[in-house]
């Protein structure tokens, strides 16, 4: 059997070093090679797809994104890797792992335990997206966008608006535009406290709203435009959404 391809994600260099040593120690039982390393959540999501890893050893307390969110992003990959979570001490996370049949290791990691986890991961494959979602029901902090066959993570806090075009959703930040492969409806549900619907095809960031102005005459559906911070053009507000938005601004 070909060796397991392992990716190590941990922000502490000694911890990565330790896992490498242990993998060496158990090489007789579980042959493996380390195909990549990362030091934070964003790096992990960006590097794992190109590494060809079968298993990711994922520290859950890294800077940037939480471990479970990283796993959620990885689980969307077409040929996603199995994930073994690693934590020094996080009672809540451990509880969530137990409840949702997610495998984890406690630091300091013991060699036999690591071997067992790798064997299990090999047979079980990637974690079920539903289990991950239950383990951490909070909205994600990053949205994955595809760019030249890579995944790039955009912080949700930087998103100004999301707009459904024919087949896909475009995401707009102050600087540029990306394509998102998720439906506007599911995004609206997940990020209900961050975005508000202004039109049947558009969600805008509540925090970015700067005001409203009258649309040019002749536009049948919209007679108001919403202005967002950092964007010169306004976005059409539908008649249906107008009362909600007006109330929102009155509250501000």
């Amino acid at each position: 059997m070909s060796p397991l391809r392992i990716f190590i994600a941990d922000d502490e260099a000694p911890a990565r070093e330790r896992l490498r040593e242990l993998l060496d120690d158990i090489a007789g039982e579980v042959p493996s090679e380390v195909v990549g390393e990362s030091r934070n959540g964003v790096e992990t999501v960006e590097r794992v797809p190109g590494s060809g890893a079968n298993v990711v050893l994922l520290d859950i307390q890294m800077p940037g994104i939480g471990g479970i969110e990283v796993a959620r992003h990885l689980s969307r990959l077409p040929d996603g890797p199995a994930v073994v979570f690693v934590t020094a001490h996080d009672r809540h996370a451990v509880e969530a792992f137990e409840l949702n049949a997610l495998d984890y290791l406690l630091k300091p990691v013991r060699a036999p335990r690591l071997a067992a986890a790798l064997k299990k991961a090999q047979s079980a494959g990637p974690p079920a997206a539903a289990n991950l979602e239950r383990a951490d029901a909070r909205a994600r902090e990053y949205l994955p966008v595809s760019e030249r066959h890579r995944i790039v993570l955009v912080p949700v806090a930087e998103v100004l608006f999301l707009k459904a075009e024919q087949k896909y959703v475009t995401l707009r930040t102050r600087e540029r535009e990306f394509l998102v492969e998720e439906s506007l409806v599911s995004l609206e549900q997940e990020f209900a406290d961050r975005f508000v619907r202004v039109h049947r095809n558009c969600l805008v960031a509540r925090a970015a709203i700067r005001g409203f102005e009258r649309a040019a005459a002749g536009d049948e559906e919209a007679h108001w435009l919403v202005k967002l911070e950092g964007l010169s053009e306004g976005l059409a507000v539908s008649r249906r959404q107008w009362p909600t938005l007006r109330a929102l601004v009155a509250d501000k």
């Binding site: 070093e17 040593e21 800077p63 940037g64 020094a88």
Partner: protein, 339 residues
């Protein structure tokens, strides 16, 4: 006074040089005078007049007694409790007598020396009783603070990650691993020591260095510590583990959530009869949900109050994107307060 072991010596006189104690005496006696005035008066205006009248006698008497107690405080501390109480009563009566005699001669207030002395004795007894109860009420808190120091001071997160880091260097660099375990042992020795005893600032700073060295092993280049401790008075006394948890917080909230290099500042100096300590770290507002920060600060605030009463303060604020904790406490040494 280098210890506040109230469990071993259950009753002790209050420290008459402590600002909080002095303030409590002044307020309590004035309240008593006010109560007496209200009780004996026939109406609000009358009560005011009675209070002003009484104040003319009470204030000079009170201030004189407080001043004398301040002067003889070190002597009183050395006596046993009952003798100390007797001495305080004697001081109070003696100077009440003196003040009364002097004042009664100049004012038309010869309202009976006997009553003045009895009232003074009652006030002294009430206050001593109050301070004794207060000391008792706080000693369980002290024991609890000690427990908290044992349980919540070092985060398990830090302990397990440090052990993991030590394991990772054992093969490559056994000497570094030895040093790390020695540091860890020192840290835990302090954690398990008597939390009611003052420690020397030099020892607390040594502990900070051990702790920083452990974190350095774990975090490598990501953690930079700037030490501004040349002006730190090494003989100053402070409660144990006042600075270490702050450094731990600084690393946990300021360095670990960041992906780049971060700098933590440790600044300790003596300014006159005060000791100032300041710890700064990069501020990550988005990670304030990481629990535990407030708890550690409250724990330190409570212990500073137990040791120094109103004479110490701890403040936090965000300055230029950096989170800053400042502690100010009186400069005390084994020889007593700074003169």
């Amino acid at each position: 006074m280098t210890s506040i072991k109230q469990n071993d010596t259950p009753d002790a006189l209050p420290d008459f040089r402590n600002l909080g104690v002095v303030a409590r005496i002044l307020i309590a006696v004035n309240l008593m005078a006010l109560a007496a005035a209200l009780y004996s008066a026939t109406g609000w205006m009358h009560a005011r007049d009675r209070f002003v009248e009484a104040a003319a006698l009470v204030e000079p008497m009170l201030l004189t007694i407080v001043l004398v107690l301040y002067i003889v405080a070190p002597r009183l501390q050395r006596m046993n409790y009952l003798a100390g109480c007797a001495a305080v009563l004697a001081v109070a009566l003696l100077f009440a007598l003196a003040t009364h005699t002097y004042w009664a001669r100049s004012e038309a207030l010869a309202s009976g020396l006997g009553r003045t002395l009895v009232l003074t004795a009652i006030a002294v007894a009430l206050l001593l009783g109050y301070f004794r109860l207060r000391a008792r009420a706080y000693s369980p808190a002290l024991a609890e603070a000690r427990l908290q120091a044992l349980q919540a001071r070092i985060r398990p997160h830090f302990l397990f990650n440090s052990l993991n880091a030590v394991l990772s260097v054992i093969r490559r660099d056994p000497r570094r691993a030895e040093r790390a375990l020695e540091d860890l042992a020192d840290l835990f020795r302090t954690l398990m020591s008597d939390a009611r005893q003052f420690v020397r600032l030099a020892d607390e700073i040594a502990l900070l260095e051990r702790y920083a060295s452990l974190e350095q092993l774990r975090l490598g280049d990501r953690l930079r510590v700037a030490w501004e401790i040349d002006a730190a008075p090494s003989d100053a006394l402070l409660p144990p583990l006042v600075l270490q948890p702050l450094l731990e917080n600084a690393v946990y909230h300021g360095i670990e959530p960041g992906t780049g290099i971060g700098e933590v500042l440790v600044h300790v100096e003596r300014r006159g009869d005060r000791v100032l300590a300041r710890i700064e770290n990069p501020y990550h507002p988005e990670h304030q949900h990481r629990a535990g920060n407030r708890m550690a600060l409250e724990n330190i605030r409570e212990r500073l109050m137990l040791f120094f009463d109103a004479e110490a303060r701890i403040e936090t604020r965000v300055v230029d994107g950096r989170f800053r904790v400042e502690i100010e406490m009186p400069y005390r040494t084994e020889r007593g307060p700074a003169s």
